[in-house]
Structure formats: C-alpha cells, structure tokens
Symmetry: C2
Amino acid sequence: MSRRMVLLTWGYSNPSIAKTAAGLLRYCPGECVAVFDPDNAGRKSQEFLEAGGDIPIIARLDEAPSANTLVMGIAPPGGRIPEAWRVVLLEAIGRGMNLLSGLHDFLSDDVELAATAAKRGVTITDVRKNNFKQIAKRTGFNPSCLRIHTVGHDCSVGKMVVSLEVTNGLKKRGVDAKFVATGQTGIMVEGSGLPLDCIVSDFVSGGAEQLVLENQHHDVLLVEGQGSLVHPSYSGVTLSLLHGCLPHAMILGFEAGRVTVDGLEHVPLPKLVRIRELYEAMASIHQPCATIGVAMNGRRVTPYEAHEIAKCVEAELNLPVVDVIRDGPDRLVDAVEQFRNCGHWRTFGK
Amino acid sequence: MSRRMVLLTWGYSNPSIAKTAAGLLRYCPGECVAVFDPDNAGRKSQEFLEAGGDIPIIARLDEAPSANTLVMGIAPPGGRIPEAWRVVLLEAIGRGMNLLSGLHDFLSDDVELAATAAKRGVTITDVRKNNFKQIAKRTGFNPSCLRIHTVGHDCSVGKMVVSLEVTNGLKKRGVDAKFVATGQTGIMVEGSGLPLDCIVSDFVSGGAEQLVLENQHHDVLLVEGQGSLVHPSYSGVTLSLLHGCLPHAMILGFEAGRVTVDGLEHVPLPKLVRIRELYEAMASIHQPCATIGVAMNGRRVTPYEAHEIAKCVEAELNLPVVDVIRDGPDRLVDAVEQFRNCGHWRTFGK
C-alpha cells in the first residue's frame, strides 16, 4: 500500500523546526496529500515550508479523505510530542490512518494511542525506535566503494538535503550512488537507514558502520551527517557517525548568517575555517580524509548576500561553495567526481 | 542493608576484562566477600585481579554463606552476559542473593531470571538501565567549582582509578573534592552517577552536564572519563562526555606499551602527543582547557621500564607523568592544586 501522507506541523510550520515535513515535501511530494496546521489553513505548503508547491495546508483531516498516514512533521530538540497534537492523532486513528513518527518520545509507547490504534487496526511506526546493539569493528569495508560524508558547522543546516541532491546529481550522470540515511527524515524519505541519534551511545558508530557494510555494493555512498562537532549537545553523535562511516572525503555545510549554536543561542559558533580543521583532524586519525566542497544554506540571506558570502568562503577555504537549493548541486557533484577519479582514496586503509 | 558481595569473574579473571570486579576489590574491599571463579578456586583475588589482597576465589556460592549480593564482575565489549553464568545466577537467586550488574544486556529483562528473582523476593539491579532524556543546555555551571576530567588514549587504561585516587588525595589534603562516576563500575563504587555509555546518544552530553549540576556544590569535581577520542567504537561517548562536563583541565591517561586500540588490534594508536592535541582542540572549542598531568598505567611493563617511559613522556609532553598504582597520586594532586590556586580558570565562561 502506497503512503498518502498528511504532514502534521501545527504550531511549528517553518522549515527549521518542521524539518521532517519539509524533507518529505521536497523529496516525496507525490506521497504528500496535505499539511495539517489550522493556524495557516487555506495557504500552500511552499509558503511556510519552502517545499511542496501547491500542496494545501488544511485545518481538518476530513479535508484529505484519501490520506492513509499522519506524519509527525517536526523534529524538536529532545524530540517530544506537543500535547496539543494528541486530539489530532486520536482523530487520525479514528479515521483509520496509520501514524508515522520520528520523535524521541515513542508514540507506540503511549498507552492511550497504542490501545486506540490496536483497536482500530492501524499501525504506529516510530522511526527512531530500535534495539541496535553492535559496536563498530572497523573491518569489512569495501575499498572500491567511495564514502562521502556530509558534515556541518551546526544542526539543521541541510546536511540531508545536500546528501540527497548530490546523490541524485551523481545518478543523473550515470554513477551508482546511494543516499545513506542516518536520521528520522532521511529514513522516511529513503525507506531505509538507522536513527543514529536514538541508538544507545556505545553502539552509534557500530550503527554507522553497519549502514556502510549494507550499502557498499554501490560505487559511491553519500552518508548523511548529524549534528556538529562543535554542538555542545550533539557532538558525540556527530563523532560516532564520522568514525563509524570512516569517510574518504567530506562536504561541509553551513548556514550563511548563523553565528550561534542551534538551540543554544548563548553559545557562539567558531569560525568555519576552524570547524573544518576540527573535522579534518578528527576524520583523519586512522586514514586521510579531506573536505572537498562546501554546501551553503542561504535561506536567511538575499541572493546577492549569498553570492558575496559564497565568494568570501571560497577564497578562505579554497573550495567550491554551493547553495544546492538556489544553484543546484552540479559543482559539488563535480567535486565528488573529481575526487573519485583521482583515485588516491583507493589506497586508503582497508 | 550493607552489601556483602561475591564478584563473578568466571572465565575472565584478569583486570582488563574483569574491570568491575577489580574496581570493587580496590575501592570497596570491605564489602567484597569472595570472587567466584571455579577455574582458579583456592587462590587469592590479588593474584588475578591485582586488588583485594587475600579475598578468596571460590568455586561454590556456599563457600560464602554471608554474601547477599552477586555482582557481574566483567565489562566485555558490547556488554553481554556469558551464557555459562546463567546457572550461577539462578543458584544465587535460589540462595536469596540480589544480583548487581553493569552489563548492556539487562538481567532484569531476562524472563527466566526476572521471574525467578520475583518469586524468591530478591532484587536485580542493572546499573546501566536508565531512561535519561535531557539534552545538554550549557547553562547553570557554578563558576567557582573546578572541573577536572580524566581522559585517555584508549579504553581500559585506568581513568576511573586515577579519578578516584586524585579525589582521595585531594580529600586527604582537606579539599572538598568529589568523584563523579560515569560508568558502571564507578557507579557501583561511588553509589551515584550515570552510565553514559548506555544513554540514548542525543542525551549523553546532557547526562554529563546533569552530573556536574548535581555535584557542583563541591569545590573540585573529578569527572571520570570514558573511552577515547581515537577509539573507532566509542569516540562519540568520549566527546559527549567531554562537551557535557566542560572541564577546566584534563588528566590524560595511557597504558605504557599499548600500541593498538583496545579490542581492535588491527587499528594502531596514534602517538600520545597527537592524542593530547586532539583532546585539547576538542575540549577548547568554547573555553580554554589544558592538560595538566599524565597518568601512566604501568601494568604491562617492569618498574624500570615504567620509570624510563615516564621520563620520556614527561620530556615530550612537559607534564608530570604518574603511575598512581605504583607511586601514588601525589604529583597529580599537586598539579590539580597548582592549577586550582593559579585561579585563571575562574575567568572561563559562565
């Protein structure tokens, strides 16, 4: 049965918090029937979530009679469900819709929701729920599969988007590339992956390694990054992922104009050039790993500002700086192909 | 009711794997009645676990009639229970003993063990079991509480031992110091703490921060380190802890003669001087953090070799290098007091 999704973003209809909705609208628009947000009903998803075009925002589930799935469209810090949503969830269950969630608070552990869903015969899928318990072994990597990892100066700068855009760009050129999802939205888009930020900490790098081992029959993997090495709350997830997927090269993402850490506005972000050094130092402990391109998220700035900032960063980091939303991923795809063709990475490690 | 413990190490009676038993023998010898290991029965714990003196190794639980607690004495990679132990656990329950475990595989989730324990009226305590779900906020730190963090070039080099020895050394000098436990053995020794390697990854730095907030009424905290920034399996736990406790200074531990990563012998360890650089870079992102001393674990080398290696490392790193087991913690305690008295750290951050 194919998914016909209503995306619940009520109270949070902006692309920074409603990351899951924005990702599904961008990469699975054919499966998105509507966005549920009574405060903005009658408008279009594109206006609020920067994706989805004319997909409507609705105030009542009966406005989307064909829908079979209600998706929790947000990924708030800590991942709890807004209490005001409960009534919507119960109504969706009553209408025979399945629930799909990437929150840390598992819907299937909620006694009322679980009982109601069971009675109505619908399923609750918690994408983050897992019992993964394997440590990374650093063995078995396929030396002819190129591993590219998207990292960032902060959370929510578009690492998933860049991974998907570059993957799709490579595919268009005939390269056997694969997007490797490591977070809830990516998993919903791709239909596979592991929610690394919800694995018990000892096993996170094991999870990243497992994803590589499962997918390394492809020629190029684009492994979606998480968090940031300089984010006080999530840096450990970032490092586990970096060491678990052991990339040959990285694409570094940043948001133009962002100067403080996402969610911790009292904490300043270090300069991008320093963050690049930290990533390269931590990525290169056991085999070389270079940054081959920079992905700029330009949503806070005008096209003119974006252009000026990109020029500065290009000069400072001596790397292509690309806003994949405004300009497409071509120059980053070029960078991956160039790195791949130079072939030096084939001599690294196992 | 006070603990009278039998430490189960059957098949694993060496201090590297039976870390929990070795830690309890060293720091809670008055509560340890015996070590259970039929293969070495009749011998003394000191011989096999380098601690505990004359505490006997036994082959049958009825040799320790006063014991009220059976402790899983090992901390294997991945943390599973050896299947051969099941009969011992069931016998212990039958004798009315409680079970105490720090394994990742929770004994209380084992249907047979849980049912048998409930019937017999004894408790199963899984030290690693937790439902901690708070992200780090990087606020509320007490600026007059000095935070010292023990880190290491690898797992199992004695970070807990060094933390406890330096804490005890400071206390002897009248300083209000507190050991902050972050792993299963430390928690069993101290009676408080959080098992950071078993928290869901997004919340590990939140857990470390929480431990600081709970204990910062003391003048000095010695926060026990976990893993290593260069360990492919556990580096993320290490970084979450480092960023969550936000230390003013670090003590760097290493084992003399160890050249490959613990449990991953195909992965070489970087040089100690490089590892120090990585720790200082990652610890100093938002406020300065220096290494103030080096703790050498000399168990693999002779006293003469230990002395020679310590001299070399002192010269290379320009820091005091101390084997706290052979020589006592005094020079590291001096280093902490000197750093504390210089007072510069009081100007850092919040």
